[in-house]
């Protein structure tokens, strides 16, 4: 039964080995994309230019601001004279962070009431924003602790005091996509792109060069040809994911929190739909250029609507619903769930179910179309 599939697979691997373009897509692309995305995000962050608008103007507020400076993460560059001025400084990029201390801050702190402060962060670089939030949180916690302790000492009673509450506002990128967030998304995208493009190319190339016509005159059945064309690119997609995971792990320190076998199994389910689309593209395109254009056209909504780039929560209702028609949407939830949160099937099944249904439908229809178009 596999007698005629084996030679096709073997041939495909020889061709992959000899084609630098395919090799680049398989091996270099995942590493490169990850590094590009990772480096765009992951830079060491300290001495963030910070502007302060202090309306409290007392020892407590000054100590709080000084603690920010002393943490090393923030450089207090300027004092603003209005809230608007502080926010404008973040807008223009003069400052990355604005610390806003309201008039009652010192008093509240002294009286053991909750003292509010606000932090406005430029979120256009998620990594910066994250570091800023994290560092500010630490500063606030330490300062809060000190204030509570000194209050207890002064009043000689237990800590009914509330300390400091820091309210962050992140501008421009409220969900703060970071490299951790990117890696699962990239893996999904790489899987989809590779299987779709390479499968379609492998078939269209034969049509372009006339070898497909030769093949259909051989006793190869269409399903044998299909499997022979699919299996090699599932294998290379696995390699690509391996590369991506390795770069994530050893370069960016992002470990897979959940089960790898589960990740692999669900990835195969996801592949059904992208392989199906690849087959579909191959039945429509006469040339590799057409196949490429069509593939990009099909993939674009995946990139935009699946939540890979933009959080789905922020999208208008209709667009959100459209996103539910895209397999990558579900797979992203699965990937992030397994890689970042370490959850298993008990949490993931609402995503696995539609993914499997999509996969079976798309693959079944495309395989059927492929069979007819070839026969």
């Amino acid at each position: 039964m596999f007698g005629r599939i084996a030679p096709i697979i073997l041939k495909e691997f020889i061709q992959i080995r000899r084609d630098p373009r395919t090799l680049a897509i398989v091996l270099a692309m995942p590493a490169m994309q990850l590094l590009l995305f990772g480096y765009a995000i992951n830079t060491v962050v300290d001495h963030l230019p910070t502007i302060v608008f202090d309306e409290s103007r007392d020892a407590q507020s000054r100590a709080f601001a000084a603690a920010f400076h002393n943490s090393g993460y923030f450089d207090l560059r300027a004092q603003a004279h209005s809230r608007a001025e502080a926010v404008a400084a973040v807008d223009t990029g003069e400052a990355r962070v604005a610390l806003l201390i309201p008039p009652e801050f010192g008093n509240h702190l002294l009286r053991g009431q909750q003292a509010l402060a606000q932090l406005v962060v430029d979120g256009s670089d998620p990594n910066t924003a994250q570091t800023a939030l994290f560092a500010a949180g630490m500063v606030a916690q330490v300062q809060s602790g000190e204030a509570v302790a000194s209050l207890a000492e002064r009043l000689g009673r237990g800590s009914a005091a509330s300390g400091i509450e820091l309210r962050p506002v992140v501008l421009y990128n409220p969900s703060m996509l970071s490299v951790n967030f990117m890696i699962p998304g990239l893996i999904g995208l790489i899987l989809q792109f590779q299987t779709l493009i390479l499968t379609a190319f492998a078939i269209v190339r034969e049509r372009e060069r006339g070898t497909l016509e030769q093949l259909v005159v051989t006793p190869i059945r269409s399903w044998e040809l299909m499997l022979g064309k699919i299996i090699p690119y599932v294998a290379t997609a696995c390699m690509a994911v391996g590369v991506a995971l390795a770069v994530g792990r050893f370069w960016f320190g992002v470990e897979v929190a959940g089960s790898l076998p589960l990740l692999a199994a669900l990835s195969l389910i996801f592949l059904l739909s992208s392989l199906g689309v690849g087959l579909f593209v191959s039945t429509i395109s006469q040339t590799q250029t057409q196949a490429m254009q069509l593939a990009v056209f099909i993939m674009l909504p995946s990139v935009l609507l699946s939540g890979f780039m933009f959080p789905r929560e922020g999208m208008p209702f209709v667009i959100q619903q459209l996103g539910l028609l895209i397999p990558l949407t579900y797979f992203l939830q699965i990937l992030r769930g397994i890689i970042l949160k370490g959850v298993g099937m008990e949490v993931l099944w609402p995503n696995v179910l539609p993914l499997a249904l999509f996969g079976l439908a798309v693959f079944g229809l495309s395989a059927n179309r492929f069979r007819k178009r070839l026969g």
Binding site: K11, I14, Q214, V217, I220
Partner: protein
């Protein structure tokens, strides 16, 4: 079936929308024949071959190849035939040997025979020493012979060749045909399309197709004898172009065609003779240097068939 018909088609028709690419074609090919399918571009040769190979369903009509129904038993047909498509369908990024191995695998040539078979084919195609060369780097003639090797790796009793010599130099063409006749001597039936008429001269039988319609089917000798109604004259004169124009109106002349500077005229022997025509041309002011009766070539037959209204 009287003798052993290896291909037998009746009323084979293929339409593409309004276009009738193959129109009610019937013929039979006997075992061991080299059957040439002759026709100009777009006459339906490839379409006919595709239907015979079981990869294109006929609109109507029926056919059997090696005893299998071409419409219903295409899979069986495919296992027992060799096919060389119009473009040499080789994997250019695979070596000579890898190409052969691939097709050997696809046709499931048993592992025990595979090695000797490949050596045989490489020798036959004269590719010894080039086994590791990429097919894409071979020149036309080599590619053509490699493609033939791939098509017969499973030793099919019937071989379809679709314009196998298009775009190949004359020496390679001759060498290729030597290989084809070598195969035919071992009992392989060859169905070959071409528009080189000299190639068809050596075929066992020739079918001429034009506009999807089978116009003639006979051995080359019979075709030449029977297809032309009349005698063929070869005329040499001073102003051939002018002469051709005049000859078209001459009495007893059926057809005129110019071959270089020589005129071929088909005459009705009941009404006209070589001498009579020379005299007629002399009367209208054209000096004739010679007028002889010649044996028609296939080309004459072909032109007369497709030129006929």
């Amino acid at each position: 079936m009287t003798t052993e018909a290896i291909i037998d088609v009746r009323g084979l028709t293929k339409r593409f929308g309004d276009l009738v690419a193959v129109n009610d074609v019937s013929f039979a090919v006997q075992r061991g024949e080299v059957f040439a399918f002759l026709g100009p571009n777009g006459s339906g040769k490839s379409t006919t071959i595709r239907m015979l190979c079981g990869i294109l369903e006929p609109t109507s009509g029926e056919g059997r190849v090696l005893g299998f129904d071409i419409a219903r038993e295409g899979e069986q047909v495919k296992e027992h035939i060799g096919y060389m498509s119009q473009r040499f369908a080789l994997y250019e990024d695979l070596t000579v040997r890898e190409n052969l191995e691939f097709y050997a695998g696809v046709y499931q040539v048993p592992g025990s025979e595979r090695k000797t078979r490949l050596v045989e084919l490489i020798d036959m195609a004269g590719l010894r020493g080039r086994e590791r060369q990429l097919a894409g780097q071979l020149s036309g003639g080599w590619k053509q012979r490699l493609a033939l090797g791939c098509a017969i790796v499973h030793q099919p009793p019937l071989l379809f060749l679709d314009e196998p010599t298009a775009g190949v130099d004359p020496v390679s063409r001759r060498r290729f045909w030597t290989m084809i006749y070598g195969l035919a001597r071992t009992g392989v039936t060859v169905f070959v399309t071409t528009h080189y008429l000299d190639e068809a001269e050596h075929a066992t039988r020739v079918a001429m197709i034009h506009g999807g319609v089978l116009r003639a089917l006979a051995s080359p000798a019979e075709l030449k004898r029977g297809a032309l109604q009349g005698h063929l004259l070869s005329l040499v004169c001073d102003t051939p172009m002018q002469a051709v124009a005049l000859l078209e109106r001459a009495p007893g002349v059926r057809e005129v065609a110019l071959y270089g500077t020589t005129i071929h005229a088909l005459i009705d022997p009941a009404q006209q003779t070589a001498e009579g025509l020379s005299a007629w041309l002399g009367d209208v002011g054209i000096t004739v240097h010679g007028a002889t009766r010649i044996e028609p070539t296939l080309e004459d037959v072909f032109i007369s068939l497709i030129g006929a209204p």
